[in-house]
C-alpha cells in the first residue's frame, strides 16, 4: 500500500520503524474502514438485489416450483435437477421463440439501433449546430416517455381506419387501409423498439464524430472531398470502436428488454407470433393470466439470459479500455 507516502521524514532507528509500521497499520485499517463505510449501502443493495437473486434464480431453475404447489409453503417444491432444461430443449415452441428472438434482435439492431442511429448522427452533425442539437433532443423523447404512454401513441398511429393516423393518410392518398398491428405485427414491434433504440447509438456516434480532430476534417475539405468521401474515408474508420460498442451493448439490451412487446402485442397475435425469449420467462413465471405460473420453468428461460448477460458484461469490461478506467486514484490518503 502507499500509506508510507504521508509519513513525515524517515527515522533511522528500528524502534521508530516499528512504531511507524504499527501506526500505519492502524491508519490503513482506518482508511479501509472509512472506504467500506462509504461503500456499504451500495454493497448491501448489490448483494440483496443482484447477487442473491442470481443465486436464487439458478436454484429455482432446478426446481419444479409452480402455482399448483406454490401456496405459502416454499418447502413444497422439489429439486428436479436439469429437468427444466431438458423440457426447454424439447419444448416445441422454445425453438420458435428462440428464432423469433434472433430475428427481432438482428433486424431491429441492424435497421434502427445502428443504421438509423448512424444516419441521424451524420445528418445532425452536418447541419446548423443548434438545429442538430434540437433534432437529437427530440430523439430522446421516446426514451423519456413512459412506456405505457409511448405504446398508446403507437397504437393510435397504427390502428385501423378511421381512428388510425397512418391509415388516415392512406385514405387521403386513396390507398387501402390496414390493421397494422394484426397484419404486420413484427414491423410495428420493430418500429416501436427501434425508435427508442436510435438515441443510444446516436449519442455515442455523435460524440465520436464531434471528437474527430478539426485538422483532419479541414484537410479533407481542402483536398476537395465530397461529403460521401469524407464519411467513407475520414469518419467511418474512426467510428469503428463506437460501432462495436453500440452493437454489443444494444444486442444485450434488445435481448433482455421486453416491456414494449409486452404492452404492444403481448407475444401475439396468434400463437407466439411476436414472443421473444425474455418475454417468455416473464410470462411463465410472473404473468399469471391463466393461473399457471411456472416459476421453475420460467427461471430456466431467464437463466439463459442471465448467463449471457454476465458473459457479455465481462466482455465489455475486457474490451472497452477497462485498464484506463480503473487506474489507481492519484492521491489516496492524507
Amino acid at each position: 500500500m502507499t500509506e508510507s507516502v504521508e509519513l513525515e521524514g524517515g527515522g533511522s532507528s528500528s524502534e521508530k520503524r516499528k512504531l511507524q509500521s504499527s501506526r500505519s497499520r492502524i491508519r490503513a485499517f482506518q482508511a479501509n474502514f472509512t472506504a467500506y463505510a462509504f461503500l456499504a449501502p451500495a454493497g448491501l443493495l448489490v448483494l440483496v438485489f443482484f447477487l442473491i437473486p442470481v443465486a436464487i434464480i439458478i436454484y429455482l431453475s432446478m426446481t419444479n416450483l409452480s402455482t399448483s404447489n406454490f401456496t405459502t409453503n416454499l418447502a413444497a417444491m422439489e429439486n428436479v435437477g436439469f429437468e427444466n432444461y431438458r423440457i426447454l430443449i424439447n419444448d416445441q415452441f422454445a425453438a420458435k421463440i428462440f428464432y423469433n428472438t434472433i430475428f427481432y434482435v438482428l433486424v431491429t439492431l441492424g435497421l434502427f439501433n445502428v443504421s438509423l442511429a448512424l444516419i441521424v448522427s451524420l445528418l445532425t452533425t452536418h447541419i446548423n449546430r443548434r438545429a442538430g442539437f434540437v433534432f437529437r433532443a427530440l430523439w430522446i423523447l421516446p426514451r423519456i416517455t413512459a412506456s405505457t404512454v409511448y405504446i398508446m401513441l403507437w397504437r393510435r398511429l397504427v390502428v385501423e381506419a378511421p381512428y388510425g393516423i397512418i391509415n388516415q393518410f392512406n385514405t387521403l392518398l386513396s390507398q387501402p387501409t390496414y390493421n397494422y398491428l394484426a397484419e404486420y405485427p413484427w414491423e410495428v414491434v420493430m418500429l416501436v423498439n427501434g425508435f427508442i433504440g436510435v438515441s443510444f447509438g446516436m449519442i455515442i456516434f455523435t460524440s465520436a464524430i464531434e471528437s474527430i480532430p478539426k485538422d483532419l476534417m479541414n484537410a479533407s475539405l481542402v483536398d476537395g472531398s465530397t461529403i460521401m468521401q469524407r464519411i467513407r474515408y475520414v469518419i467511418m474508420p474512426l467510428l469503428r470502436w463506437p460501432l462495436l460498442f453500440v452493437v454489443t451493448y444494444q444486442t444485450l439490451s434488445l435481448l433482455t428488454s421486453f416491456e414494449q412487446i409486452l404492452l404492444l402485442t403481448n407475444g401475439g397475435p396468434g400463437l407466439y407470433a411476436t414472443e421473444v425469449w425474455s418475454l417468455t420467462a416473464y410470462h411463465r413465471a410472473l404473468s399469471n393470466y391463466f393461473g399457471n405460473t411456472q416459476w421453475g420453468y420460467g427461471s430456466a428461460f431467464a437463466v439463459v439470459l442471465v448467463l449471457l448477460g454476465v458473459v457479455m458484461a465481462i466482455i465489455y469490461m475486457r474490451f472497452f479500455r477497462f485498464g484506463e478506467l480503473v487506474a489507481e486514484p492519484k492521491i489516496e490518503v492524507l
Binding site: A42, I119, V120, T124, S220, G224, S253, S299, I314, P329
Partner: protein
Amino acid sequence: MAVSNTLALKHKIQPDTPRRVFANILRNGLIIIIALTLVALLLIVLLKPLLASAQVEETVTTTLAQLLVLVLPYLVYISSGSTVREYVKTHLGQALGLALIGTLILYSIVTIGQFFFHIGPFVQASSLEMTLGPIENGSIVEALVPNGAAELAGIQVGDVITAVRRDPVDRNTLIQMISRAEPDTPLRLRILRNGEELQLTARTVLSVNVNTEALLSGLVVALIITIAAIFWPGNWTPYVLLIVILAPLMLGYLWLIIATFSYRTEGLIPLDGQNNLGGWTLANWDFLFGQDIVNLNVNIWQITLNSLIIALSMTALVLLISSMAGYALSRMNFKGRRAFLSFTLVLHGFPAVTLLIPIFFVLAYLGEMPLIGKIIGFNKPLGIALIMVAFELPLGTWLMKGYFDGIPWDIERSALIDGASRWRTYWEILLPQIRPGILALGVFSFIAGWNAFLVPQTYSIGTGTVNLPVFLSQLINETAATNWNQIAAVGLFQLIPVFVIFIFAQEYLLNIYAGGTKGSS
C-alpha cells in the same frame, strides 16, 4: 490526409468531359438498380424461406423488399440528377441534356425490370377488368376490357354497382375488395341499370392492368425528379430527411395533445358527437377533480402520490448511495477497490431486468421481516423504489466516480488538513462541486422512477403501488376505443413533468442516456 489527397488527385487528373459525365450517370444508376434488386432478391429468395423454416411468422422481409422496390426508381432518377450537379455550374445546357437522356435510358431499364418481375405498373392483381368511376350511390362502370371478366359476367358500360351481396359499397371499398380477393373469387354484384336493379356474379381474374398513360406519366415524373435533383439546394436535404424520419413520432405526440382537448378524434382530426369538425372540450380533464375516468372511480391524486413517492425516494437514494460509493472509489485506496470497481462495471453492462423472477422472492422475504417489512415489503412504494435504486446503482456509481475524478484534489486536501472528517469533506466540500453530475443523475433517476412500469406492475398485487403508468395500462386494457380521449388526458398528465424536464435539461439527458459512458468512450 493521404487518402483524401489521392482522391483529389484522381479528381484533378481526369477533368469532366460530357462522355465521362454521361458514363457516370449510367454507372451510378446501374449500381443502384443492381444493388437494390440484389438486396430485395436476397430478402425474398433467401431470407424469407430461411425464417419460414425456423417457424418465424413474419412479413418484414416482404415489406422491406417492397420498400426497396418502391424507392428504387426514385433513387435512380435522383442519382442521375445529382451526378451532374457539379457539371451544371459550367455547362448548363449540356448537363441538363445529359441528365435527361441518362434518366430516359435508366427509366427504360427500370421499366423492363418491372415488366420482368411483374411489379410497379405491371403488378398482377385480382381484377374484374373494368374501369370504375365514383358516383353518388356507388360506382359507375366507365370502360370494359373486351372479353374481360366483367364483360363475360354481363356487365355493361354505364352500370352502377351499388353493393356486393347485401353490403353497400362505394368506389374505393369496391376497388379494395376486388384487389384483395383471391383470383377466381365469385363476387355477387348488385347493379342498377336504367333504374332497375339486377344481380350479376363476376369472377376475379389475375391480370396485369397496364395503361400507357401510367407509363408515360411515370416518365414525366422521372424527368421532373431528375431536374429537381439537379437544382435542389443540397443543404436542405438533411433537414428534410430528419423531419421525415421523425414524422411518425411527432404525429403521435401531436395526436396526444389534440385528443386530450377534443370530444373524439379520427386520425388527427378532432370531431364532436355529430362527426363535425371541432368538438373542443376540457371534459377529458375532469378526472383531476374527482370525476370517474372511463367509468372507473379512482382517486388520481393517490396514484400520482404513489408515482411521486417512487420517483422522489428513488432519486434521493440513488444520489446518496451512488455518490458515496463513487466518492470512495474515486478518492480512497482500499483493499478490494479494483475488484469493486470492475464488479460495478460488469453490473453496469448486466441487464438487471432478467432478475425480476428471483427478486419476487427477495421482496417476499423482506416483507416478512419484522420492522423493515412494514416499509419496503410488498405493495409498498418504497420497496418498488429500492429495487429500481439497485438497478440504477451501477450506472450512478460509475457516473459519480467520473465526476469526482474531475475535481482537483487541492480543495479537499486543505479541508482534510484542517481536520475535517472524510464524511464532512464529502458532504460539505465535494458534493457542491459536482452539482452538474448530481443534477444529471437526479434528472435521470427521477424520470426512471416517474415512468416506472415493469417493476411496479410485476410486484403490485393490491393497489398499494399502482402508479400512473401502471394505472394507464389498466385503463388501456379495460376499455373500448371510445374512451381513448380520456385515457390520452391521463397520459398527457403523466407526461407533463417529463416534458418540463425535457425542456430544461436536454443537455443532461443527452449526456446520460448513452449509459453514462462519458468516461469510457
